[in-house]
C-alpha cells in the first residue's frame, strides 16, 4: 500500500515540479555525455594525454555533486513544506514518522530514478553532439553511434546516486523532530509578511554597492596575494547577501514615502509583491546571484580557451616539424633519416641561432616584459640578477640572433613573403603579445656588430615558435655578414612535410634526441632513482633549451615539435579545460534557474488568489498578464542583472588578464559576450516555461 502511495505521490510531484524533473533529466544527460566522452575507449586510445580530460571531468564532478546535492536538498525541503499538511494528515491517520520519511524518501528516489533513466536517453543524444564537436576540433569525422561503456555508466550513476545520498541523508532527521502541529503550520511559514526595517537596513544597500565599485577598481589595480584574494572573495559574497537585505529595505522605504509614483496603476501591488518576496527570499536571491555569476564566469573562461586553442597551436607550432639542438653545429642526420623514413618532406632547413655575448634585450624584457617584470625588477628599475640566476628560465643567457637568409627561408616555409633589411639595419621578430612592451628606448637601440652599427628597421610578429626554439619570445634578425662575426649558440631543424606527419614521429624524434644528448628516458630515470643512482628529490628534465619565453596559462615548449603530435596534445589539454568549464557553467545555470522557476510556479496558487482579487477590482486579462510579466521579470531579472554586472567586471578582468598573458585575440568583453549569449538562450527557455506555466495557473482558476 505504501509503495503504491509513494508511486502515486511521485507521479503527482513530477507533474507539479516538472521543471525540476526536467532539470534533473538534463543534468543526468550532461553527466552521461561528459563522462562517456572522458572515458571513451576511442579517445583514450587516440591520445597520449587523454587522461587529462578524465581527470578534469572527475574534478568538476566534485563541484557538480555539491551543487546538485544542494538543489535536491533544497527541492525536497521545499516540497516538504508545501506538502507538510499532507504529512501531518498521515501522522494523524496513525502512520509513524519512520514510515512517512521512508515514504517521502521513496518518492524522491523514484522521481530521481525516472529523471535518470530519461536522462540517459537524452544523454545519448547529447553524447553525439559532444563527440561530433570533439572530433571536429581535431579535423576528424565522427560516425554517429551511441557509445555505452560500463565505466562511464558506473561513473554517471555513481555521481548521480552520490548527489541523492548527500541530499537525502539528513531528511530523516528532519521528520524526526516534527510534530503534527508543526507540520500543519509549516505550509504557512513562508507566507508570513515580513516587512523589512526600512531605516538602518537601507545602509547595507549602499555599503554593498560601494563595495562592488571598490571591488571593480581593485580588480584592475594591483595584483594580490592569495590571502588578499580570499579576503576580497569573502567580502564579495557577504556584499551580495547584504545587497538584497538593503535592497528590500530601500523598496520598503520607497513605499513608506508614498510618492506620487506609487499610485500609478499596478505599481503599489507590484512593489509590495517585490518587497514581500525579497523579505522572505533575500538569502536565496543572494545564493542565486552567486550561482549565476559563477555560471557566467565559467562560460567566459571556457570561451577564452575554446577560441584560443587554434591560435595557441599556430603560435607554438607553426612548423610541421621543428627540432632543437644544444650543439650549434648539429647536422641532424639521425633526425632527418627518421623523418624521411616516416614521411615525405617538402623542405628541410637546418640553421643556427647566434649570440654576441650581450644581454641587452634580455635584460630589457626581464625588467619591462609585463608578465614577469615584477619578479625580476629591483625597486629602482634595474635587473635583479640574483632572481634571474635562481629562477630565470624565461630567456637565454645571451641575446639571440638569426641570419636574414635563414629568417626569409623559414618565412617562405610558413607561406610568408621574404623581407629585406635596409642598409645598416636590423629587424626584430617577436611574439605579437610582446610588442606593447617595446618602448622607444629599446627601439632606438643600435647594435654594435662586425659590420658596424645597425639600427632597427622593422618589427615582425608572425607565429614563429618562440618558446625556446626560435629564441625565447624574440629574435634579432641581422644581415648574414653580421652574424658571421658572432658565435653559434644552438641549432634548429625545420621541416615542411607533404600532408600530415604521422603523430608518433614526435615520440621517435624525442627518443633520438634523448639518446644523442645522453639523457635517460622517463622510465630509465625512475629505474635509476630506484637503484639510488639519482637522488630521490631530483625530477626528470629532458629539455635542453636555455629559455622558454614568458607565455603564461597556455605554454607549449619542447625540444621536438611535431605539429600533428604536439598540436593534438595541446588541443586535447585545452579541450580538457573548455568542456569541464562549460559543463560546470551550464549545471550552475540550470540549478539557479530551476530554483527560480520552481519558486515562482509553486507560489502561483498564492498569486492566483491575488490576481483574482485584482480581476474583481476591474483589471482585465491583458493588464493582469502584463503585471505577471513585470512580476516575473523582476524576480528573474534582479539576480541576473546583478550577476551580469558583477560577472562582467570579473570576466572582463579575467579576459584582459588572459589576453595579456597569452596574447590571445579578442578582449575580455568579447569572451563575456559569447558566454552571455549562450547563457541568455538557456535563461529564456526557463523564463518562457515559467511565464507560460504561471499564466496558465493564474487564469485556470480565475
Amino acid at each position: 500500500m505504501l509503495n503504491k502511495l509513494a508511486f502515486r505521490n511521485a507521479r503527482r510531484s513530477s507533474r507539479d515540479y516538472i521543471v525540476y524533473v526536467l532539470t534533473m533529466t538534463v543534468m543526468a544527460a550532461m553527466m552521461f555525455a561528459f563522462d562517456s566522452m572522458a572515458l571513451s575507449p576511442d579517445i583514450l586510445t587516440m591520445f597520449r594525454e587523454a587522461g587529462v580530460m578524465g581527470a578534469m571531468i572527475g574534478l568538476v564532478s566534485v563541484f557538480i555533486v555539491c551543487i546538485l546535492a544542494w538543489l535536491i536538498r533544497y527541492m525536497t525541503r521545499f516540497m516538504l513544506e508545501k506538502r507538510s499538511r499532507e504529512f501531518g494528515t498521515y501522522l494523524l491517520l496513525g502512520m509513524n514518522k519512520k514510515q512517512i520519511s521512508g515514504l517521502y524518501m521513496k518518492e524522491n528516489i523514484l522521481m530521481g530514478a525516472i529523471a535518470f533513466l530519461l536522462g540517459i536517453g537524452v544523454g545519448m543524444f547529447f553524447q553525439q553532439i559532444l563527440m561530433t564537436i570533439f572530433y571536429r576540433v581535431f579535423g576528424m569525422d565522427y560516425p554517429l553511434h551511441v557509445q555505452l561503456n560500463g565505466w562511464s555508466m558506473l561513473m554517471t550513476s555513481g555521481i548521480y546516486i552520490l548527489c541523492y545520498f548527500f541530499a537525502l541523508i539528513r531528511n530523516r532527521r528532519l521528520f524526526k523532530k516534527m510534530t503534527i502541529a508543526e507540520l500543519m503550520r509549516m505550509e504557512k511559514e513562508n507566507e508570513k509578511i515580513r516587512e523589512s526595517k526600512s531605516g538602518f537596513a537601507r545602509i547595507w544597500f549602499f555599503v554593498a554597492v560601494g563595495f562592488f565599485i571598490v571591488y571593480t577598481i581593485l580588480l584592475f589595480g594591483e595584483r594580490y596575494s592569495v590571502a588578499g584574494v580570499c579576503c576580497i572573495t569573502v567580502c564579495f559574497i557577504a556584499a551580495v547577501y547584504l545587497f538584497y537585505y538593503g535592497f528590500s529595505a530601500i523598496l520598503t522605504s520607497y513605499i513608506h514615502k508614498r510618492k506620487s509614483g506609487l499610485y500609478k496603476p499596478g505599481r503599489l501591488f507590484l512593489l509590495r509583491q517585490y518587497t514581500g518576496k525579497l523579505g522572505t527570499m533575500r538569502f536565496t536571491m543572494g545564493t542565486l546571484t552567486l550561482l549565476l555569476m559563477t555560471a557566467i564566469l565559467g562560460g567566459s573562461v571556457s570561451m577564452m580557451f575554446a577560441r584560443f586553442q587554434n591560435q595557441a597551436i599556430e603560435n607554438s607550432v607553426p612548423f610541421d616539424i621543428l627540432v632543437h639542438s644544444e650543439n650549434p653545429d648539429d647536422a641532424f642526420d639521425e633526425e632527418l633519416a627518421a623523418i624521411h623514413d616516416q614521411c615525405r618532406t617538402e623542405d628541410t632547413w637546418s640553421y643556427q641561432i647566434y649570440q654576441d655575448g650581450k644581454q641587452v634585450m634580455n635584460e630589457y624584457l626581464y625588467t619591462h616584459g609585463g608578465t614577469v617584470s615584477k619578479k625580476y625588477r629591483n625597486p629602482d628599475g634595474s635587473l635583479n640578477e640574483k632572481a634571474v640566476e635562481e629562477d630565470g628560465y624565461e630567456y637565454y643567457t645571451y641575446d639571440t640572433y638569426m641570419r636574414i637568409s635563414d629568417y626569409n627561408h623559414l618565412r617562405e616555409m610558413l607561406g610568408y613573403e621574404p623581407v629585406t633589411l635596409g642598409q645598416d639595419k636590423y629587424a626584430v621578430q617577436i611574439k605579437e603579445r610582446m610588442v606593447p612592451f617595446l618602448d622607444d628606448k629599446i627601439k632606438a637601440r643600435a647594435l654594435d656588430t662586425s659590420l658596424g652599427e645597425l639600427t632597427l628597421d622593422e618589427i615582425y610578429t608572425i607565429p614563429f615558435s618562440q618558446n625556446g626554439n626560435n629564441g625565447a619570445d624574440y629574435l634579432i634578425i641581422v644581415p648574414d655578414e653580421a652574424a658571421a662575426g658572432m658565435d653559434g649558440y644552438f641549432s634548429e631543424l625545420a621541416v615542411s612535410t607533404e600532408g600530415k606527419a604521422p603523430s608518433d614521429l614526435q615520440q621517435t624524434l624525442e627518443t633520438i634526441r634523448l639518446k644523442k644528448n645522453g639523457i635517460p628516458t622517463q622510465e630509465e630515470f625512475y629505474e635509476m632513482q630506484e637503484r639510488g643512482e639519482i637522488p630521490e628529490e631530483a625530477y626528470w628534465e629532458s629539455e635542453t633549451m636555455g629559455g622558454f619565453g614568458t607565455d603564461q596559462i597556455v605554454s607549449c615548449a619542447s625540444d621536438v615539435l611535431v605539429r600533428e603530435g604536439i598540436g593534438m596534445d595541446l588541443k586535447l589539454v585545452m579541450l580538457s579545460l573548455v568542456f569541464p568549464l562549460a559543463y560546470v557553467g551550464l549545471v550552475f545555470l540550470c540549478v539557479a534557474l530551476t530554483i527560480m522557476s520552481v519558486q515562482q510556479l509553486s507560489d502561483s496558487s498564492k498569486y492566483r488568489f491575488r490576481y483574482d482579487v485584482l480581476s474583481k477590482l476591474g483589471m482585465n486579462e491583458k493588464e493582469i498578464d502584463r503585471l505577471i510579466l513585470k512580476q516575473l521579470a523582476f524576480y528573474y531579472l534582479v539576480p541576473v542583472v546583478i550577476a551580469v554586472i558583477l560577472g562582467a567586471a570579473t570576466a572582463v578582468y579575467a579576459g584582459h588578464q588572459f589576453v595579456f598573458y597569452t596574447g590571445a585575440n579578442g578582449s575580455g568583453m568579447y569572451y563575456f559576450g559569447i558566454s552571455l549569449f549562450i547563457f541568455a538562450g538557456v535563461y529564456l527557455i526557463y523564463f518562457g516555461m515559467t511565464y507560460l506555466g504561471f499564466k496558465r495557473n493564474v487564469h485556470y482558476s480565475a
Partner: protein
C-alpha cells in the same frame, strides 16, 4: 419608492450548467429591479442559486440567457475587456473570506482600486482617509491583514468596496467568517455605508440576522424567486421575525442565528 430611479434591471436571467440531457439550472428566469440607495438581500438555502445570481449581476459570471441593465447599459452584451472596465468603474465587492491582499497594508488595500482607476494621489489619500475614518479603521491603517482581527479585515474590505463610490456594492456572505460581535459591527457598517454614504448594496446571505438589516429581501429556491419581503417601517426585530416565518415555510434550511 416610486420616486426612486431604477438602478439595475434584471430581466429573465438564466444560468445553466452541463449539456444535452444533463442540464442543471442554477438560476431560472429571475427578474427584479434594484433602486438607487437600496440595501437589498438575497436569501436561500445552499444550492438555491443565490451566489450564482450575485456573480452574474456583478459581472464575475456570464448569464446563459436574459439581460442585466445598469441604467441603459446591458452588461450581458459587454466583452471581457468591457466588463473589466465596467467592474472597475461601477462595482465594489465584499466577500466572506475578505479577499484582502496580504502583502498590502490595510490603507494600501483600500487605496488599490483607486490607483487602478488612475486617480490622482491627493484624491486617493483624501478619499481613503475619509472612508477609513467613517468605518473606524484609521488606527490600523498601517497594519497588514494578518495583524488585525477578522472584523477589522472585513471593515477594510468594506472600505475598499466603497472607496471608489461604486454604483453597487455586492456582498457575498460577508458575515460568514465572523464571530457574532464582529458580524454585528460589520452590519452596522453596512448600514452606515447605505444611509450616510448613499451606497446601494446587494447582499447574499443565508443568515436571517444579517438579512434583517436589509430594506428588502428576495428569497430564492431552486434558482427561482419564490418570495419577497419589504421592511417598510418595521423595526429590525419585527422584520427578523418575518424572515424567520418565511424560512420556516421553506423547511428552515437557512440558519436562524440570532
Amino acid at each position: 419608492m416610486d420616486n426612486m430611479k431604477h438602478l439595475i434591471k434584471i430581466c429573465d436571467i438564466e444560468k445553466y450548467y452541463g449539456s444535452g440531457n444533463n442540464i442543471t439550472k442554477a438560476v431560472n428566469r429571475v427578474s427584479f429591479q434594484v433602486d438607487e440607495g437600496e440595501f437589498i438581500g438575497i436569501m436561500g438555502a445552499s444550492g438555491s442559486g443565490k451566489t450564482t445570481l450575485l456573480n452574474m449581476i456583478s459581472t464575475i459570471d456570464r448569464v446563459s440567457a436574459g439581460h442585466i441593465y445598469y441604467g441603459d447599459t446591458d452588461i450581458t452584451m459587454l466583452k471581457e475587456e468591457g466588463l473589466a472596465k465596467f467592474r472597475k468603474e461601477n462595482l465594489g465587492f465584499v466577500f466572506q473570506e475578505f479577499n484582502l491582499l496580504d502583502t498590502l497594508t490595510i490603507r494600501e488595500n483600500i487605496e488599490l482600486p483607486m490607483t487602478l482607476q488612475k486617480q490622482k494621489k491627493t484624491e486617493i489619500v483624501k478619499r481613503t482617509g475619509q472612508v477609513m475614518k467613517a468605518l473606524g479603521i484609521e488606527k490600523i491603517a498601517d497594519k497588514f491583514p494578518v495583524q488585525v482581527s477578522g472584523g477589522q479585515k472585513q471593515r477594510c474590505a468594506c472600505a475598499r468596496a466603497v472607496v471608489t463610490k461604486p454604483q453597487l456594492i455586492c456582498a457575498d456572505e460577508p458575515t460568514g467568517a465572523l464571530d457574532s460581535r464582529s458580524a454585528q459591527m460589520l452590519l452596522d457598517t453596512f448600514e452606515t455605508m447605505n444611509r450616510k454614504m448613499g451606497a446601494t448594496i446587494l447582499m447574499v446571505t443565508h443568515d436571517a440576522f444579517s438579512a434583517s438589516y436589509c430594506r428588502r429581501i428576495l428569497f430564492l429556491k431552486d434558482g427561482q424567486i419564490f418570495h419577497e419581503l419589504y421592511r417598510g417601517q418595521e423595526t429590525r426585530r419585527e422584520f427578523l421575525n418575518q424572515i424567520l416565518d418565511v424560512l420556516a415555510l421553506t423547511g428552515g434550511e437557512c440558519s436562524d442565528a440570532e
